[in-house]
Symmetry: C2
Subunit: 225 residues, 2 copies
DNA sequence: ACCTGAACACCGTTCAAGT
DNA sequence: ACCTGAACACCGTTCAAGT
């Protein structure tokens, strides 16, 4: 009884009760420690000192787990817009933030491509993009499709970066292939050379692509079709 | 000796010798029979009546296997252009063909997103796209980035379709989430409604997106940056 | 030299059985 | 009612050992 705060000092019990929240916390911890590739139901269960079966009481499957995790990280992003920042700058910034978020953990981007990270924070992201496009004069169906397209680009880019960082295939491999292009069968590629396809930093390339897509949305016929 | 063509009638021996070609043939057969999700090294080995280790003599890993398979299917596509067809129609057609090809087999699109399908046929595809963009007045670095962007879109779309067809998540789930958008926190989404995001057939949406991207490439500054 | 059986180190998901 | 041990049905990749 001499120590006044034994509870706060050793507050974590060996096995806190399971819950969606606790599972997500553990998932974040696993990803931080070992990377998203290691985030599996089994690894997650062992982090929580239980068997994998127990997780299925709270999470439907791996896809849902990833969707929950993405939404959680989305909550850490700034998804507001004060309108003092030009819409185009804000749009580029939020897409860059989103892509970085997904790319930071290899498995996330692939998951986002295939599943809707359906949560409150994802809706915040959609809402922000819709607002930004509206202020650019794009509304209705065209805006919805634009948002779709922009997010798809950000997600696919992130998946690419993550794969590249994972080291599967080097950019130099690609360069080699292009440099070997037969001048008769592939005159354009031969003339262009590999440098063209690998020029610029990823950030700079992304900025170019985002601008091109936004320009495309602005240029597309307002009536749809 | 009474039968004249015993060899041709039972030409296939129980175990044809392994080779890159034979492995790829077997891969095509497996995918045709059971879908690309079932195309695994182990399943492929069993199709060839051998152990999985044997495949590694000819194929570096699963990623390379998928890249080879994509290039093989690319060989079945028409990648020529007679210039009688308007460049924009031809461009939309080839992207649609490519996306359909990748979507036809769930695992392929995901693989293409992460790996360069480095083969002669993939170079044909790049060459065709470069030619089409050139005839639209886009050359050099801008063309290279445009090709990159167009292919990324086609690949990501295919990955999405394939996932949807795989049935992971219904469009109706998404509609439910959007319909439940809080009018105060998400006024744009609330006003837009789920219908906006799900309007139109996939084909029609793809056509819109392709056009928007092409418009964007045309609009983007020729000087780069 | 070439090939491969068997092993290593994992997966996601289910369900019968326990508390 | 809630939870989970154990099993089912798989993975990719490596390497020592065989021919």
């Amino acid at each position: 009884m001499s120590r006044p705060e034994p509870v706060s000092r050793r507050a974590r019990p060996a096995k806190p009760p399971l819950s969606r929240g606790a599972i997500l916390d553990a998932a974040v911890a696993v990803v931080q420690k070992e990377g998203a590739a290691k985030l599996t139901m089994r690894r997650l269960a062992s982090e929580l000192d239980t068997g994998p079966a127990s997780l299925y009481v709270y999470v439907k499957n791996t896809t849902e787990l990833n969707a929950l995790l993405i939404d959680r990280h989305l909550g850490e992003l700034d998804l507001t817009w004060g309108e003092s920042e030009p819409w185009r700058d804000r749009l580029e910034r939020v897409l860059d933030d989103y892509a970085r978020l997904l790319a930071s953990q290899p498995g996330l981007a692939a998951a986002a491509l295939v599943t809707w990270p359906d949560g409150a924070h994802y809706l915040d992201l959609l809402e922000l993009l819709m607002r930004l496009l509206r202020s650019a004069g794009v509304t209705g169906e065209r805006a919805a499709r634009g948002v779709d397209l922009l997010l798809q680009y950000a997600t696919a880019s992130a998946a690419e970066w993550a794969a590249r960082a994972g080291g599967e295939q080097e950019l130099s491999d690609l360069a080699e292939i292009l440099d070997a292009a037969d001048p008769h069968r592939h005159p354009e590629l031969h003339a262009a050379g590999a440098a063209l396809f690998t020029a610029g930093s990823p950030e700079e390339r992304t900025r170019w692509a985002t601008r091109a897509i936004v320009d495309g949305i602005l240029a597309s016929a307002p009536g749809g079709a």
